[in-house]
């Protein structure tokens, strides 16, 4: 454990939307090659955390380091080039572009054509339906197909750190199982994954480590296997609100 490098280090992160403080000082440490689950009730601040990591919103306080490099105030496109890639909440595909163009855009930071080709192959292998629909304008895809596209697009850049915001949203049970398999597979390739999910039980199964966020603060964290049985978690996550 102690030999593992720290991929992402977050300290005292605070973020506000106007008058609402969504993050009230979050600390997170993500080791290289781990799958880290972020859990929490509706509106707890999970999405906000991921958005801040990828740089598309501004923070008030605290810092984020990627392999020791401070990226707190960095522009999102720079962060993407450093190897962080995100499948955002609510799909956010390029609606008027085709499936193939969306995926191409996902590989924007890659220069190596061969690698891009391989990534295409891989995404099409994971989601064969995307290949069938590759020339369809993505706004006309079904909800689940768009979700697959968003995840596939995030994979296209061969990221060092992959951020998944509710990847199972709107996906059929079989595909949800697939996603979990995919996460395992890319973890094995050495990619670090931060995954936000509502489906706590299933997520903790594949995760190494878990954080529970409550009202903008980390309320519990620990090894996934331990967390899964933690009564405190059951209360925080499944319990009262």
């Amino acid at each position: 454990m102690s030999e593992k490098k720290i991929a992402l280090e977050i300290k005292n992160l605070k973020v506000s939307y106007g008058a609402i403080q969504a993050l009230k000082g979050i600390d997170l440490t993500v080791y290289e090659g781990d799958v880290v689950a972020i859990l929490g009730a509706n509106g707890a601040g999970k999405t906000t955390t991921l958005k801040k990591i990828s740089g598309i919103i501004d923070g008030e306080d605290g810092f984020i380091k990627l392999y020791g490099q401070d990226i707190t105030k960095m522009e999102p496109e720079k962060i993407a080039r450093l190897g962080i890639s995100m499948s955002p909440e609510g799909r956010a595909v390029f609606k008027d572009l085709t499936v193939e163009e969306n995926l191409k855009a996902g590989a924007f930071t890659l220069k190596d054509r061969e690698k891009i080709r391989k990534n295409f192959e891989r995404v099409y292998r994971y989601f064969p339906v995307l290949e069938e629909r590759k020339n369809q304008v993505s706004s006309t895809l079904s909800g689940g197909e768009q979700q697959m596209l968003a995840i596939g697009r995030a994979l296209m850049s061969s990221p060092r750190v992959l951020l998944l915001d509710e990847p199972s949203l709107g996906l059929a049970p079989l595909i949800v199982q697939d996603i979990m398999k995919i996460v395992k597979e890319i973890k094995e390739e050495g990619t670090t994954v931060v995954i936000v999910e509502q489906n706590a039980a299933q997520t903790l199964k594949i995760a190494d480590y878990g954080y529970v966020i409550e009202l903008g603060k980390v309320s519990t964290h620990g090894k996934a296997s331990v967390l899964a049985d933690d009564p405190k978690l059951v209360e925080a996550y499944l319990g009262k609100h």
Binding site: S54, G55, I56, E75, P76, E77, A80, R81, S85, M86, P88, A92, V93, F94, K95, D96, L97, E101, K104, A105, G106, F108, T109, V137, S139, T140, R153, S157
Partner: protein, 291 residues
């Protein structure tokens, strides 16, 4: 017959000016998702720069034009960096109003920089005519047409075939997600404003010899280009170009054969009827909305 051909030839020449102006509008629309009403006045401003370099500083015309292109790039960059970069939370319509504000600024500053007299700018190719079936077209006109088509083809290629094209299209589609993908959208929009500026000054330099360099130099070109974008559809780059040539030709035919008083208005009404039946323009495709 020769009259007819003459009209067509002259229309092609103005058509290529409209086309360049329309391309300038489209590239901004596709990257900043706003209609740049200031495209015309910015072009006017930079054409004044060319004229000044030529008249007051005595530079050769081609050098003056290069100077104008540089100043166009600079003004484009400035507009993006000083203004549009700070409009993250601004709606597309509000961005259009920003371009209105720009018009006021440019119209206010131009007389201070360049004085109030109309100025003269000669043609790039001073003389020479090519006879075509009893009509004639100047070498300069031919050059304009060729240049317009070349620029259009080049842009088409860049947009469809290169990484820059992808960057432009993702920026237009959803700037926020594009940045997540590592697309340097700021550079894309900045470049787009630069390119729009260049397209504008080239259109201005083509227009100026037909009239004189004044504050209103590009007014008509601007409106025609806007309408051409609608006629051709905002989704493609070649649609507006075709729209621009059609506008140039049909307007002159209407003015000549139907009515010199009402020709322009008849054209507007025809276009109105046309877009009611083809709401996405000549080239644009209709996309079924999915809910």
């Amino acid at each position: 017959m020769s009259t007819f051909i003459q009209i067509i030839l002259r229309s092609l020449e103005t058509g290529s000016i409209y086309a360049l102006a329309a391309l300038g509008i489209i590239i901004i629309y596709r990257t900043s998702y706003t209609t740049n009403f200031a495209q015309g006045v910015v072009a006017m401003f930079n054409t004044f720069v060319v004229t000044f370099l030529f008249n007051k500083f005595g530079l050769p015309l081609w050098l003056a034009v290069i100077g104008g292109i540089l100043s166009a790039i600079l003004t484009g960059f400035l507009i993006d960096v000083l203004i549009l970069r700070h409009t993250k939370n601004v709606s597309p319509v509000a961005k259009q109003i920003i371009t209105l504000g720009l018009i006021m600024i440019v119209l206010g500053l131009a007389p201070i920089f360049f004085g109030v007299d109309p100025l003269r700018l000669p043609r790039l190719i001073e003389s020479g005519d090519l006879g075509v079936l009893g009509a004639s077209i100047s070498y300069n006109g031919l050059f304009n047409i060729a240049l317009g088509l070349a620029i259009m083809t080049g842009m088409f290629y860049i947009l469809q075939r290169t990484k820059w094209g992808l960057a432009i299209r993702t920026t237009a589609s959803n700037e926020y997600v594009a940045r997540l993908m590592g697309v340097p959208t700021k550079n894309v929009t900045m470049a787009a404003w630069g390119v729009a500026g260049v397209l504008g000054v080239i259109a201005g330099v083509m227009t100026a010899p037909m009239t004189s360099v004044t504050l209103n130099l590009m007014d008509e070109v601007q409106i025609t280009a806007l309408v051409a974008c609608v006629l051709g559809g905002f989704q493609t780059f070649h649609g507006p170009v075709i729209g621009a040539y059609i506008m140039g030709i049909v307007r002159n035919l209407l003015l000549f054969y139907v009515s010199s008083v009402w020709g322009g208005q008849i054209l507007y009404i025809l276009i109105l009827i046309f877009i009611v039946f083809r709401p996405y323009g000549l080239i644009g495709k209709k996309i079924v909305k999915k809910v």
